[in-house]
Amino acid sequence: MKNFDLIKLPFSKENPILVQVLGVCSCLAVTAQLKPAVVMALSVTVVVVLANVIVSLLRNTIPPRIRIIVQLVVVSTLVVLVDQVLKAYVYDVSKQLSVFVGLIITNCIVMGRLEAFAMVQKPWASFLDGLGNGIGYSVILIALGFVRELFGSGTLWGYPVMEKLGLYNIGYENNGLMIMPPMALILVGLIIWWHRSKNKDLCE
C-alpha cells in the first residue's frame, strides 16, 4: 500500500506544481498549445524517473559535499539524450520548445526529487516517486495546454474544433488573451485556488 501512495500523493495532496510550487517556469511557458505541452510533460517525466533511479543507485557512493554537481551531471546527460531524440523525431515541436528542453536541467522538480527522495531511498521506491511526480506535473501541464489552446486559438492538437462546431457563425470569437504569457499565471492561480478550497489543510 505504501508504494501506491508514492504515486498517488504527488497527484493531488503533494502535487509538484500546485502544492510544492516546483517546476513552474516550464509549466507556464510551453502550454500555449496542447502538443508542446504533452511533449514537454513526457520529457520531464522520463528525465525525473531515470534521474531518480540512477541517483538512487549511486547514493552510497556520492560524497555529500559534491552531490549537487554529481546530480547536475546525471540530469544534464539525460536531458542531452532527450533533446537529441526530440530533434530527431519531432523537430517542429523541438523548435517550439526552444530553450525549455535545456531548462529541464534546472527544473526544480528534478533537483527537488533527487535531493529530497532519491538520495536517501531505494531504487524501486525512487522509480515510483519519480513516476508519481512526473504524472502530477503532466496532469497540470496538459490541463493548461488544453484550456489555453481550446479557448485561445479554437483548436485542439491543431484540429479546428470551434470551427467544426460552427461557433464562429453564431458570433463566437477566440480569446486572444489565453495564448499570451500572463494568462498562464492567472490560470495556475485559479487552479491553486480551486485545489486549496477542496483541501482545506493546505491553506496558509
Partner: protein, 204 residues
C-alpha cells in the same frame, strides 16, 4: 545604438519573469520581504554577468558548428553543439562555486548579506536560460552578449523587488483563505505581466 536597444529590450520587452517565466521557483520562494529579494536579485545579476560572456566565448570557439577551425582547418566541419547543455551547466556550477569563495574571501559583508542565495543560483533557471538565449539569438560579439546579460539580470531584479513590495502590503488585505500565499502571488504576477506587455514592440 544596438547596445542600448538590446539593453532596454532585455529589461522590459523580454523580461525573464514576465515574458518567459524563468527563475519562478526562487521568485516565488524568496519574495516575502524586499530586503532579501533585493539581495537575491543582485546575486543573480552578478552571476549572469559573469557566466553569459564566458559561455559566449565557449560557444564561439569550441561548441558551434565550425568553431574549432582556429585550431586546424581539418576540424572546420566539427559540430559539438549537442554538448552545449552539459558544458553550460558545468560552467555555471563552477563559476557559482568560485564566486562564492571569492566573495567570502574579499568581502565578508557582501557574503553575509547574500548568504544562502549564492549556492542556490546554480540551479536558477534564469541563469541557465541567459546562456541558452544567448546561443539561440546569436549575438554578434561579446559586448552584445554582456549587455544582454546585464539587462536580463536587472529585469529579474526589478520583477522580484516589485512583487516583494506588493506581498509586504498584501499581508494586511482580506484574501479568501484558499487563495492566500502562492495563489494570489501567481495572479498578481499575471497582472504585472499584462502591464509589462505594453512594452511590446518598444524600440529605441
Amino acid at each position: 545604438m544596438d547596445y542600448i536597444n538590446i539593453f532596454i529590450k532585455s529589461i522590459f520587452v523580454d523580461n525573464m519573469i514576465f515574458a518567459f517565466f524563468l527563475g519562478m521557483c526562487s521568485y516565488l520562494a524568496v519574495s516575502k520581504t524586499v530586503k532579501t529579494s533585493a539581495g537575491l536579485g543582485i546575486a543573480v545579476t552578478f552571476v549572469l554577468l559573469i557566466t553569459v560572456p564566458i559561455n559566449y566565448l565557449l560557444n564561439k570557439y569550441f561548441l558551434a558548428e565550425g568553431a574549432l577551425a582556429w585550431i586546424s582547418p581539418s576540424l572546420a566541419d566539427v559540430d559539438l553543439s549537442f554538448l552545449s547543455l552539459i558544458m553550460f551547466i558545468a560552467v555555471i556550477a563552477a563559476i557559482v562555486q568560485m564566486v562564492e569563495m571569492i566573495v567570502e574571501k574579499f568581502s565578508p559583508a557582501l557574503y553575509n548579506s547574500l548568504g544562502i542565495f549564492l549556492p542556490l543560483i546554480a540551479v536558477n533557471c534564469a541563469v541557465m536560460s541567459g546562456s541558452l538565449f544567448m546561443q539561440e539569438r546569436g549575438y554578434a560579439n561579446i559586448g552584445e552578449a554582456s549587455v544582454f546579460a546585464l539587462g536580463s539580470g536587472i529585469g529579474w531584479f526589478l520583477a522580484i523587488v516589485a512583487i516583494a513590495a506588493i506581498r509586504e502590503k498584501l499581508r494586511y488585505s482580506h484574501i479568501p483563505p484558499a487563495l492566500r500565499g502562492v495563489g494570489i502571488t501567481f495572479i498578481i504576477t499575471g497582472l504585472m505581466g499584462l502591464a509589462f506587455m505594453s512594452f511590446m514592440g518598444f524600440k529605441l
